[in-house]
Amino acid sequence: MDKKLLQILPQVSSPARYTNGELNAIHKDWDTTTLKMCLAFPDIYDIGMANLGFKILYHIINQQQACLGERAYLPWIDMQEQMIKAGLPLTALESGKPLSEFDIIGFTLQHETSYTNVVKMLDLADIPRFSAERKETDPLIIAGGPCSFNCEPIVDFLDCVVLGDGEEVLKQILELAVAAKEQNIAKEELLRQLAKLEGVYVPRFYRAVYNDNGDYMGLEPLKQDLPLEINKNLVENLDQAFYPDTAIVPYTKVVFERAVVEVMRGCTRGCRFCQAGMIYRPVRERSVEVLKKQVAQLIKNTGYEEISLSSLSTGDYSCIQQLISELVQEYEGQGVSVALPSLRVDSFSVKLAEQIQKVRKSGITFAPEAGTQRLRDVINKNVTEADLYDAVESAFQAGWHQVKLYFMIGLPTEEFADLDGIVSIAKNALEIGWKYHQKGRRKPTVVVSVSSFVPKSHTPFQWEAMDSIEVLLEKQAYLRKHLSHPGISFQYHNVHISYLEAILARGDRRLAATIARAVDLGCQFDSWHECFDFKLWEQALQDTNIDGNYFANRQRAKDEILPWDHLKCGVSKGYLWREREKAFKEETTPDCRFTNCTGCGLPKCNIRDRG
């Protein structure tokens, strides 16, 4: 280990984040491998190690004979300061090589409030921030993840963006990059080749056009033969898709330390606020046989004590009962437990949770999202009052003492009556709790967690205005007052962070200057309450002449050209508008898996083909 690093480590918090050598990490030979790619996670190690996409892509890169894949995370602030003081650049964990020596850096864009972290990582790595500034010898900066569907605010920093499932297209990208390196092909030419791949977007080949009012009018291609629309990549059969049979086991405690299998991808419940529910369609399941094989391999290779069944809505997996029973039976004796990441709001889900969680150690969480049936119909959260109270009742009855309920405020059409609905649900839930926990030592508690609705691209609410900061604060205060009740605790999110998220979620290329300025002013880790500084962001917006409200709080017209119109997730804009109209009429749309095709427009879909 570098002597400077050796001396820094005792002076920083959690130094084991930076030491490498974890079990199952892959160390390929630097000198004899043609192409080096570093996966870069724009947050600390503890958070990044939980990311499922990273786990998959890491192994795909290293499976390619000519390629080597390593990892880098954003060091915490104390470590950054020490590195700068010692003159150390950001390095990859495995080889300790500076990021600037890699051929490709691959960022994942998980949420908009990590954008400053992306820029910060480039800064720490001594790589020029902007794609236009980078030279032939600088690494190729690519990005993927859910935010690639509305990536315009950050594209000036990126050389190419990958839409949708990465498993197959990454191999193609690597193949082209290896050939380019072996044949000394210029970066510009490589980007041209990459732009021809399905689902790969090379932003610098397009220019954004604005009218005299400063409204975005679309993209203009700067070269010939460029696609005007980028269609996402889709892995059609998950059973045949690559899934690693091993995983890196961190030495220290990180978020979600467990063996993860992905039971399915996509969700068609059709909640109108949910971007993931639109961009990951269609629903694709893995078979129980394949999952059991993957679990066996993972437990054998990692020794983890917990198996997590991951997806957007695991309760909807068609063989969930069978899968859980068989896994519990097989692993109970070895001290290995099963975990469900999310529960549907019904008693069936509680039964599942009961089956796997023998100790009712923590609370149980449900997400009714809105306080009245009216508003739940608006957002198409197909949960009834009866479902909710059934779920709460089953949970308290099964022995849980704490029920946590997730809601959003600021949803389209929301009135104070809907907030009253949240209050009465909380009180009724607590009442139910008292029925089952009157005599015990521990009293029942209900936690109400409230976040602010942020309109997202590719959803039926993509045209809507977000509530202003003032209104959201007023709504929070209203809830705080009315939820001040013994046995109920109230948690809420930072409204200003949500406002920033809203700006970046539906912004255009002009925001790149704002992001860069924010980093210069000291912004990073914007999703961390203790680091977020709204004043600095206000300053950055002002310095770059951007009106945040224009992006966050403005109602868009039906025919407005949106900065993500060219980035296609398969669900049609017409369908999204129809869903928006239904929302305002308080009409629901059922899940197409259990009824008929709802006409979302997906080009490859087995439900529509079923007829």
Partner: protein, 223 residues
């Protein structure tokens, strides 16, 4: 012979910043990967039954970590050693393993002393004098932070030996370790005018008996 096995293992550089609890979990997972016939605790939260000796301070490497593994059947100690080394992360290595007699005393309770080697990364001035001064004192009070707050403790009685090697690049320290009295090796740095980032600390030995002969937790099994 009983069904328990005592091992001595190394903590190498890549593992030195891992907390005691994280080391325990690394071994739990290694046991599961090696599919050893480990005994499990009873109750809802079933944990594999093994115990470490005195916790190694974070930041310190070691050649003298000890752990007892309680198995459900007799297993030759050497086989456990090989099996663990096949699955442990690269920062750990099992150096030796012995089968314990039935009803051996628990590791935690028998440790008395430890030896450390403190490598100096930077030139330190007037160290011999500072060592002389330190050893000449009858009491050296330092702040000890506990769950109940901080209190002053006298660490002088716990320092048995402190020497600088000939070329002045390394200190060797023998001190109390265990439930009867426990000196963290970093606690002597400040009195010597040294900083944590200027040294590398390595645990060389743990002893269960100092007089008349020094005996390790593994020596006691043979004798």
């Amino acid at each position: 012979m009983g069904k328990s096995i005592r091992v001595r293992f190394q903590v190498k550089e890549t593992c030195r910043f891992i907390s005691h609890l994280d080391k325990v979990r690394s071994f739990e997972r290694a046991i599961r990967r090696a599919q050893l016939p480990i005994a499990y605790s009873q109750g809802f939260n079933r944990r594999p039954r093994f115990a470490f000796a005195q916790a190694l301070p974070v930041g310190v490497t070691s050649d003298a970590e000890y752990a007892d593994f309680h198995l459900t059947e007799y297993l030759e100690a050497e086989r456990l050693k090989i099996a663990l080394n096949q699955v442990l992360p690269s920062g750990f290595y099992v150096l030796e393993a012995v089968n314990l007699p039935a009803r051996a005393e628990a590791l935690m309770t028998i440790i008395q002393a430890a030896a450390y080697r403190i490598k100096l990364l930077e030139q330190a001035s007037e160290l011999p004098d500072k060592i002389g001064n330190l050893l000449a004192q009858k009491s050296i009070y330092i702040d000890k932070h506990t769950k109940k707050g901080s209190k002053q403790v006298n660490i002088r009685p716990w320092i048995y030996q402190l020497e600088l090697n000939e070329d002045g690049t390394e200190l060797s320290l023998v001190c109390a370790c265990g439930s009867q009295g426990n000196l963290r090796p970093m606690d002597i740095l400040e009195p010597l005018g040294l900083k944590l980032e200027e040294v590398l600390i390595h645990r060389e030995a743990l002893w269960i008996e100092m007089d008349p002969v020094r005996r390790t937790p593994i020596d006691i099994v043979g004798g």
